[in-house]
């Protein structure tokens, strides 16, 4: 062995190590996630966009001035981003702090709990960004992009994924078992997927229900993605959507610092 000694690196280098760990883990176990993040949305795009879209164009013509395919394609990008954020931040985090305790192993090294958290979230962001690029290309191939603003779609996907991942990592760190995760998926993620104006406009709801829909974080993600693909939208509304998602991501990060440290150190 040569005589290189281990030394603690600066904070920046430390959380990169954790990013790398999450990337390696994904590279070795990616097959399971391909169905939910790639195949499903594409099937949806084909079945709903082309199939239901045909029906829509025969009866109603257009939805909010868009063809049905144009309307739902960005919505599916947003829901996929949500699914990446949710999928990376629940079961795998509970496993890492409770069952396999691999995060405990990580903090026996120079890494601090904050490094593990940043490594995790930066990995989620990376995955959402890459998926966003692939989706944008595919949506383009389906002919559903109409503006150079579409180039922002991968960033929109990243923002959506982080808005879900950051608070969910924080919350998962407080859980003792998986029961709450199952409930959360059934009663929050699935309804959000169905009712966040992904498949039809919010105007389909009676007026008193609309504010409720607008409370759903995914609603803001869908609206942002749709504006990106289409190139239309008011600055005020778009800023509000970005702000909602951004606040969720930042608040989640701050909360997660607290809960992950508490979970790992005590």
């Amino acid at each position: 062995m040569s005589d290189v000694t281990a030394h603690p690196s600066a904070g920046w280098a430390r959380w990169q190590r954790s990013w790398w760990y999450h990337a390696v883990l994904y590279a070795r176990t990616w097959r399971g996630s391909v169905i939910s993040t790639a195949v499903f949305p594409l099937l949806f795009l084909a079945a709903m966009g082309v199939g239901v879209g045909h029906l829509v164009s025969q009866h109603a013509g257009r939805v909010q001035g868009l063809s049905y395919l144009d309307f739902i394609a960005p919505g599916l990008l947003a829901t996929t981003a949500m699914q990446i954020g949710e999928g990376e931040s629940t079961w795998s985090v509970l496993g890492a702090v409770k069952w396999q305790r691999t995060y405990h192993a990580a903090i026996s090294t120079p890494l601090e709990p904050e490094d593990v958290l940043l490594g995790k979230l930066s990995w989620v962001g990376t995955r959402a960004l890459a998926t966003g690029v692939i989706y944008t290309v595919i949506i383009g191939l389906f002919g559903a992009l109409h503006s150079w603003w579409a180039l922002s779609l991968p960033l929109v996907a990243t923002l959506i994924a982080l808005a879900f991942a950051a608070p969910l990592v924080a919350w998962t760190c407080t859980l003792e078992n998986e029961g709450a995760l199952i409930t959360f998926y059934r009663f929050a993620i699935v309804p959000m997927f169905l009712f966040s104006a992904t498949f039809y406009p919010v105007s389909a709801y009676p007026g008193y229900l609309r504010p409720l829909v607008q409370l759903a974080p995914l609603y803001h993600g869908v609206a942002l993605a749709r504006a990106g693909a289409d190139g239309h939208g008011s600055l005020g509304a778009l800023s509000a959507h970005v702000a909602v998602l951004g606040v969720m991501a930042v608040a989640g990060l701050l909360w997660g610092r607290h809960t992950l440290r508490r979970r790992l150190v005590n």
């Binding site: 290189v4 030394h7 883990l25 305790r101 903090i107 150190v265």
Partner: protein, 310 residues
């Protein structure tokens, strides 16, 4: 002794979890190059102490220096020089043996070439070279334990902390691990070990402390502890009758201490053979007699009791 020779120096160390106090103000000094044991029943506070000494958990009170540094301000610097083998293996089951070591090596910011080289050498050291590409999930318990030890050595630590390193292993795997720990000690690595196995403590530890309910109840070299807290020999008597308690009075004159157990009676004495002769002459006729040397286990049970602690 100079300060640099103390790898761990703890004064009045306390750990509280809410209202519960797991460690009640213990003093510990571990010297460079020695092999130091923490013994105690479940719930004695060993693991809480280990986690503080690993610079992971912060003491609630007291002072702690590890490698001469304060863990509250130098956590990453200290941990860069420690190796930790936790009670549970905490390996990444989905990844291969090799990748588990590589990830850990990268946590220490070692260059790639160095990580590759050390991974190869450590797998050889723990006899896992042939399993380098196996998924960890497919390894036996003993192999996982060896891999966890290899992982703890990737940064070439000055201090190796092992929390129950051989619990659940078969005798072959235990002896292989002991052998590896001896070698590390010969190379100058300081070892801190917790264990439930008294034979392991006698084999491995130069000095040890016995903890019970968060406090240190005895400390010293294994031989010193036996000398202080037990007699040189123990006579184990078994009788045909089931009821042993009535025999106690007739035996008390022969030993410095008599312990009545459901299946046998223990006499703590200095010369076992002589006492057996005396018993024969006095007309005490046990069904079987065994004379043995006092062990650390006798000391441990004397200090922490035979009652099961859950």
């Amino acid at each position: 002794m100079s300060v640099e020779d103390l790898v761990v120096e703890a004064r009045g160390l306390v750990k509280r979890f809410g209202a519960f106090e797991a460690v009640h103000g213990i003093d510990v000094e571990v010297r460079r190059g020695e092999s130091f044991g923490f013994l105690g029943p479940n719930g004695a506070g060993k693991t809480s102490t280990m986690r503080m000494i690993s610079a992971v958990s912060t003491p609630s009170q007291g002072t702690l220096r590890i490698l001469g540094l304060d863990p509250a301000t130098h956590g990453p610097t200290i941990r860069a020089r420690l190796g930790v083998v936790p009670q549970e293996d905490t390996l990444e089951l989905e990844l291969s043996v090799r990748v588990n070591l590589e990830i850990y090596g990268r946590y220490f910011d070692l260059p790639w070439s160095e990580v590759k080289e050390r991974t190869r050498e450590l797998l050889e050291f723990v006899q896992l070279s042939e399993r380098a590409n196996s998924k960890v999930d497919d390894l036996s318990g003993g192999m996982k334990r060896r891999l966890t030890i290899a992982r703890a050595l990737i940064n070439r630590p000055e201090l190796l902390i092992l929390d129950e390193p051989t619990t659940g292993l078969d005798p072959q795997a235990r002896h292989l691990l002991w052998d590896r720990l001896y070698r590390l000690k010969r190379e100058g690595v300081t070892l801190i070990i917790t264990t439930h196995y008294m034979d392991e403590a006698e084999q491995l530890c130069d000095r040890l402390v016995v903890m019970d309910q968060g406090s240190i109840v005895a400390q010293g070299a294994p031989s010193e502890l036996i000398e202080q807290h037990s007699t040189r020999e123990v006579v184990e008597l078994r009788f045909a009758q089931d009821e042993h308690e009535p025999l106690r009075a007739s035996l008390e004159g022969f030993a410095s201490r008599v312990e009545v157990l459901p299946d046998r009676i223990l006499l703590y004495v200095n010369d076992g053979d002589e006492v057996v002769g005396q018993l024969g002459r006095a007309g005490v006729n046990p069904a079987s007699t065994l004379v043995r040397r006092s062990s650390l286990e006798d000391v441990f049970l004397r200090l922490t009791g035979r009652t099961l602690v859950e």
